[in-house]
Structures are given as C-alpha cells and as structure tokens.
Symmetry: C2
Subunit: 379 residues, 2 copies
C-alpha cells in the first residue's frame, strides 16, 4: 500500500533536492493519456496551472511555463533580460550562482560577480556597495536558495539593498528550489524575474520551469538583444493569453502540475511554508545529534535542503552507496569543489518528519558500519 507520501515500502526514500517524491494523485495524473495540446481540455488545464502558480508565487506578475529544466530557465533569463556587453552583477553563493554567471558570459554579457564563500549567505551591504561603486550595472542576479550548499539568502534584504542603491535596476532571482516551499514575495520585494523548477517543492517530475516577469521585466525584454526563439518569453506570454503555448509543451508534466497545485491549495501556502521550516530545523537537529557537521551558516540555513559533512575518515560516496543499497535511502552528494566531500538531504515538496527519521536511522547505521570514529560524537 502506498504511504501518505505515495512511496511504497519497496521503493526508495528519495531525499535528493530534486527530483522529489511524487504524491499518488500526481502519479495518477501522469498516467493520463495524451490530449491535443491545441484543444480546449488542455487550455483549461493550462489556465488552472497558471492561476495556481500565481497563487504559489504570490504575485500579480505574468507567469510563464517553459518546457526545460532549471538550467534552461536560467538561460531564458540571460537571453530575455540582457544584451551583449550589458553589465550584470551576479551574486553567487555556490554552484548554481556560478552557473548563471557562466551562462551570461557564454552569451557575451559583461559579468561582475561577487562570490561569497560556500556555506555563507550573501551580505546585502556588500551587494549594495558593489552596485554603488559601479553605476554601469543595471541588472542584478541572485540565487535565493543555493541547492549546492543548503544556504538560503536573505532575499528580502538583498532586494531592498538593490532598490535602495539602484531603484530601476532589474532584479532576477533563481528561486528554483525555494518558490512554493519558502515565502517569496516578488511584488512586495521588487523581484522582477523569479524562476522555479517543477522537480523541486512542486512535487512534479523535472521538465518544466516557471518564470514570473514584472512590468520592468517586460520593458527590459523589449530591449534585450540576445538571440532567442525557443526561450523567447514574449512568444510564451502572447500564447498564454490564449491559454496555449508557442511550442508543444510537456503535456503530461502540466497534468501533474495541476494535481500538485490542487494538493498544495488543500494544504495551504502558509502551512506548506511552516512545514518546510519545521522539517528543516528537525533535520539539522537530528544531524547535529549524530555528530555530523552542518555545512551552512546556521543563521541562513535552507528550509529545503541541508548539506552536511561526515568526519574526514568517512568517504561520502561510500556512505551514499551504503544508504542507497542497504537502506533504500537516497541522498545527494556534493557538487563542484565539494564532489565526494559532502552529502545533501532534500526536504522539500512531499516530506514529513517520518521521512527524515528514516534517513537518520539509516545514516546512524551506515556510519557505524563504516566505522566512523565520529559516529555519535560531535567532531
């Protein structure tokens, strides 16, 4: 029998920071047969999804759905918001902030990057100083929740700092692993562009990205000269006004999104946020009790993903393998410079304390089995 979270005992406790487990009603929606993506049935589903996304994004801005993964969503920000040579300040606190800078450079934007140490959040004052020092910067990109380090930036404060120094700057936010799980208020905070990804807190398979675009975003889009067709936001906006998409969308994932949004509506946005906050805290407490080192600055610990390190004598890859093979618990490893040196637990979307309990029990057993000197002892 499927549990409340849709996992059967025989299947894995998937706790990567995306893809996340699918609730039963989402899996049912995925099993629906196809429909004509130009017909009235799909138009109604699409409309409901856009409305639901506006609710979860807490915005009156336009919402677009693109068939792509998160990186495609970030690339769509670059090609719709920038022109060759345009100066963009990229505030990076990890792997995905760096990725945005790489994409912007690949398209010939002039990237000014502030990179804060991995594990730390961005300092709003440093962002403001950088903006003040360079009047040519008219665009700021910031990661809200850095999936590679489990750090959640103080987005509201960063947004206020940007607005204070450069009221007309365009502010674009990677909210891929935050929106829908963590409060984000694009309109109140002045976030012109916010990107999220279906495989995160939305409890839907990867393949869709959602982008909210403000009026300032649309003004910028009209001037931006990077080449674009597939990711052209205006084409999507014009078609969405007629409840359709410019290119064939990932129909099945849109069905899944509809079911997931209904589930989210039933739970309530505030409840979802509180659950994520609560389970993140619970995860950190339990990991600390096991003597594992939390990677993120505790003041800015993420509500959706927790990164940790075992003691130096434990091979992170062997630990991940043991968890998966012996306990059916699937965590993620480190990225970039932390590959093989870190573990990450995703606790977003469909997750309860009992899921975390299973992870911690498995961790404790595996650390003991690997003979970790630090198991049970704070290093």
């Amino acid at each position: 029998m499927p549990s409340e979270n849709g996992r059967t005992p025989a299947t894995q406790n998937l706790r990567t920071p995306g893809p996340t487990p699918l609730p039963p009603e989402v899996r049912e929606a995925l099993a629906r047969d196809m429909v004509n993506h130009r017909g009235p049935e799909f138009a109604a589903v699409l409309r409901e999804c856009v409305d639901g996304l506006k609710w979860a994004f807490q915005t009156r801005n336009d919402i677009l759905l693109l068939t792509a993964s998160g990186t495609g969503g970030l690339e769509s920000v670059v090609v719709n918001m920038l022109s060759p040579g345009q100066k963009v300040l990229v505030v990076s606190i990890g792997y995905f902030g760096d990725r945005f800078a790489d994409i912007a450079r690949a398209y010939g934007a002039s990237v000014v990057d502030i990179a804060f140490p991995w594990g730390q959040a961005a300092d709003p004052d440093v962002v403001a100083d950088q903006l003040a020092a360079d009047p040519a910067i008219d665009t700021v990109f910031v990661t809200h929740n850095e999936t590679s380090t489990g750090v959640m930036n103080p987005l509201e404060q960063i947004a206020r700092a940007v607005r204070r120094v450069r009221p007309d700057a365009l502010l674009a936010v990677d909210g891929i692993s935050s929106v829908g799980s963590v409060p984000v208020l694009p309109d109140a905070w002045g976030c012109d562009v916010v990107v999220s990804g279906s495989q995160k807190g939305w409890m839907v398979p990867p393949g869709l990205v959602f982008v909210s675009v403000s009026l300032r975003g649309w003004e910028r889009q009209a001037q931006a000269k990077m080449p674009r067709v597939y990711f052209d936001w205006l084409a999507h906006k014009k078609h969405l006004e007629k409840n359709t998409t410019p290119w064939t969308p990932a129909v099945g994932i849109v069905f899944a999104l509809q079911a997931a949004l209904e589930r989210m509506w039933a739970e309530g946005l505030e409840q979802i946020f509180r659950r994520h906050e609560r389970i993140a805290r619970y995860t950190r407490e339990r990991l600390s009790q096991l003597g594992l080192r939390l990677f993120a600055d505790p003041v800015h610990a993420s509500w959706t993903v927790t990164a940790f390190q075992a003691s130096d004598d434990v091979d992170a890859k062997a630990l991940l393998r043991g968890l998966r093979e012996k306990h059916n618990v699937v965590l993620a490893g480190g990225q970039g410079r932390y590959e093989g040196k870190m573990l990450r637990i995703g606790h977003l979307g469909s997750v309860e304390e009992t899921d975390i309990d299973e992870v911690l029990e498995a961790l404790e057993a595996e650390l003991a089995s690997l003979g970790a000197a630090s198991a049970g002892v704070r290093s």
Copy 2:
C-alpha cells in the same frame, strides 16, 4: 477496459500528429515515482534508451537526448552547427521548414531558402542547382516529413543530390515526425544531424528531443560560434558517455521512452514501418472515398500524417469541433496560411486500421450533419 492501444472507450481517439496516444505500458512507466537522476538506476535506463534510439535511428552516430520540444531541437541544430553570417540552405516545404529558417535568422545565420509550394515535396535537382550556384553554402537543412502539409520529402534522393554537388556540406534533417515511423538511414544517406521528438511515433509525451550527430557534425560543432549552454551538444555527449546528462533531464519521460522502445523492439522496426505505410495508404483511400481532397502530392504522401480539405462550404473549425464534441475524435487543424482551411490526421505511433475507421465514420457523420454538399461526392 483499455483497448489494445491503451484508450478506454470513455477517452478520445486522439489522431493529431503529436502528441500521440500512449500505450498502457508507457502510461505505467509514467506513473513510476521519481529516482535520483544522478544515481545508478537512472543511468541504466538512460543507457538503454540511447541504445534503443540508435537502433530505431538505424545509426552508429552519437544520439543525444535533450529536455525540450521539437522547436528546441531545431534551435539546438542552429546553435551547434552554425556561426553568425554562415550560409545555410534551408529547403522548406511548409510551416516547420519555415520555422527552421526563422530560428537560423534570429541567430544571425545567412539563410538562403528554397520554398516549394505547400503540398509539394522538394525537388532534389533544384536543391542541387541551388548548391551549385552558390559555393558559399556549406550547410543544408531539410525537413524529412512536413507535419503541416503531410508531405514526405524524398530524403535519400535529396541527400544524394547534396553529396553529389557538395561532398563536404553538413546535412541536417528535421526527422521529428518521421524517425521511428518511417525508414531513415542517416549513415547510408549521409545525414549528419537528424532530430526527432518524443511525442510523435515514439508514443511518449512531449518533452524530449533526440538528435543524432555524425563525425562531420562534431567537427562542425567545434567550430560553430553561436552562443549556447542549455542546448550545447558537446556537454550532452560528454555526460552521456558517463550515462548521465549535464542538466536535470525529464526523468519521467525517459522512463516512458524506455517502455516505448521495448514495445517497438517487440514489434520490430520493419513491421513498424510497414504498418505506418499501410495505414497511411488506407487513410488516404478512405478519405478519397468520402470525397475529401487530399492536400499532399500523392507521390510524396506522408506515412505519418494526412492533410485534407473539405469542400469550400464546410468550415474546418466547425468540423473539428463536431468531431471532438460528438464523436470523441480529435484531429488537428491547418497551420500558418492554412489555419481554418485544413484538417490533419496523425497516424503515427500507436495506430491501427480500426482507429482510422472510427475517424472516418465520425467524419462521414459530421459532414452529413454540417450539410456538406460534397459529402460522399468527389468535388
């Protein structure tokens, strides 16, 4: 009870040229819970899919899987194969050929287009003459099966004509609605790049595109200067060599593809091709018997989609609506200049004669009900 094709009596007879109906085992695969896209389970599925695609593409070239729809696949050809100002000959026989030319222009390629009249195939000799007349052209793009008109180009002859005049030219093929349903021999014919889309003959939801790339394609890719990150083929190739993808892929659609390829393997490629050829002929015969005007040159009629027109006193949109609302039969309308003036039947992927019988019975009833003067009488 689901029929052999996975449709329940209560659901539609979906006969658009993509998305196509999903067989039961594909829908079951779609209902699977997520797995870690960086883990060994997914690596095994991905490897099986790449091998299966090589079999269906009948190629030894590399095969890449991109999370995008067909237009994204075409854009990936532009950004990986061309540089700004580079001269590309675009052989267009309809809406999707024109789309490729538009994308190439958006990126600053120098497009020379030969547009053959809608309903006609491309003439290989005209293509050869154009190439002979302009030595600066080093790239040729051609649509194999034009979904908007139901015309299937003589790809082998076109490819031979290209090779005769310009042995080293790069030949890129839109095989979105042909590969997997119709014989294509990229290696024997010298097609350097062939693109296909999951929602066509593959019986899988939209969201994945498949691209085969020859050695000449890779040499070109190393020189091509268009900006690209998400669609960068080399990043995909390098990751696929380790059975993974550079960005989070549409995991669920890859599961579906695995199931669909198993079904295709069980039927056999030759059997699949013969079935498509046979059902296409049957569709044309039945439509002609009803007095409906086939749009495509009969010599080059597509094996996967048939376009037709009713007599001038029949509103194509009303006819489509009647078919859908009263008979649960879903066809597609015309595109571009033929919007509202054409109907298209998709007969690719999961399709048998009985599906076409249902379409024709519904068409006959609706034409009678709309009082078409031509119903039953060849116009």
